[in-house]
């Protein structure tokens, strides 16, 4: 098994870098650095991992959690940093959702629900991959995901605009 080719690394970067930044932002303030370091580590691997996407999510998760723990130790600086914390999203094309409100609602979710939603929606990971990533049963991941989505829907006051199934009058 050889190293991961440059094309594969570039493609992975284009597909996942932003999602990985959002994923790492759950735990730390410097998600971009974490993601770049993780990609450097991937490039330097003598043997390419079997599932590069899951692998890099795992590396980003470990490093972001470590960085988050280190940040919590510097508790005095945190209040200053929290005020200047950038939003999690850029304004989207869909004007039905406010980016800041969505970020705030997402931050208020429990960790396991938020992680499942970020990995599923923006990372495009399957439930079984998220289960391996978080070392929890697939059913729990699915339950957390669905419950989190419902909570988000409620908090954001989401109203579906798709036509509902008509009932016979």
């Amino acid at each position: 098994m050889g190293t991961l080719g440059p094309d594969a690394v570039t493609q992975l970067w284009r597909e996942q870098s932003r999602a990985l930044v959002l994923y790492a932002r759950q735990w730390c303030d410097t998600p971009e650095d974490i993601v770049q370091e993780a990609f450097l580590t991937l490039v330097r691997q003598p043997d390419a991992p079997d599932h590069p996407t899951g692998w890099i999510y795992r590396v980003v998760r470990n490093r972001a959690q470590n960085a988050g723990r280190a940040r919590r130790r510097r508790q005095s600086r945190e209040t200053v940093a929290a005020e200047n914390r950038p939003s999690w999203f850029e304004p989207g094309q869909d004007d039905r959702l406010d980016a800041d409100a969505a970020a705030e609602a997402l931050q208020q979710l429990p960790d396991d629900q938020r992680e499942a939603i970020v990995a599923r929606i923006w990372g495009g990971l399957g439930f079984d991959e998220i289960a391996r990533l978080t070392e929890s049963p697939t059913s729990s991941v699915y339950r957390n995901y669905r419950r989190g989505l419902l909570v988000l829907q409620e908090r954001l006051g989401w109203k579906c605009e798709t036509p509902k199934t008509k009932t016979r009058s």
Partner: protein
Amino acid sequence: MRDSQNQNAELSDFEAALRSLPPRADRLPSDWPPEPFASTDCVNPSGHEFVCVHCGCEAPTTPPRRRWAWPTAFGAMTTIAAVLFVAIFLRQPTPNVTTIASDGSSDLVAQPTVFPFYVTLRNQVLRDGVDSWQSVGSSDVVKSPAHESPTGYREQIETLLKELNHAG
């Protein structure tokens, strides 16, 4: 049934709306990974970072020179401790015995030992008080009982009895 279908459709729509929000990554360089870096073959395998392919955990990156420093120090300390432990058991304590001359040979009698001096001093101090220490200490030679009187115990008793009879 219909409610769950509606809920699923609603959730799918909500998922799509969420997905349309692009994650912010302002500090992420747009030209990363740099092409030369990504396409260069590795010529320095010793510079690799090793991360477990399965779990993503990082292996320790301690340089080889420092990797055996702790085991070496541990081995050396253990050896020293073992040697000291054995030495404690092998060490023979030297007996601290004071020999008291009890026979009548002339050279032993001429050199009074420490023990009678101590006994004499102790008895005098107990009898007459600490002030009498000076008088005892000032005497250069403390004579042993054997030197004082060559007579034996029985003769001393007889002498004492005679004196009592005379006094009586």
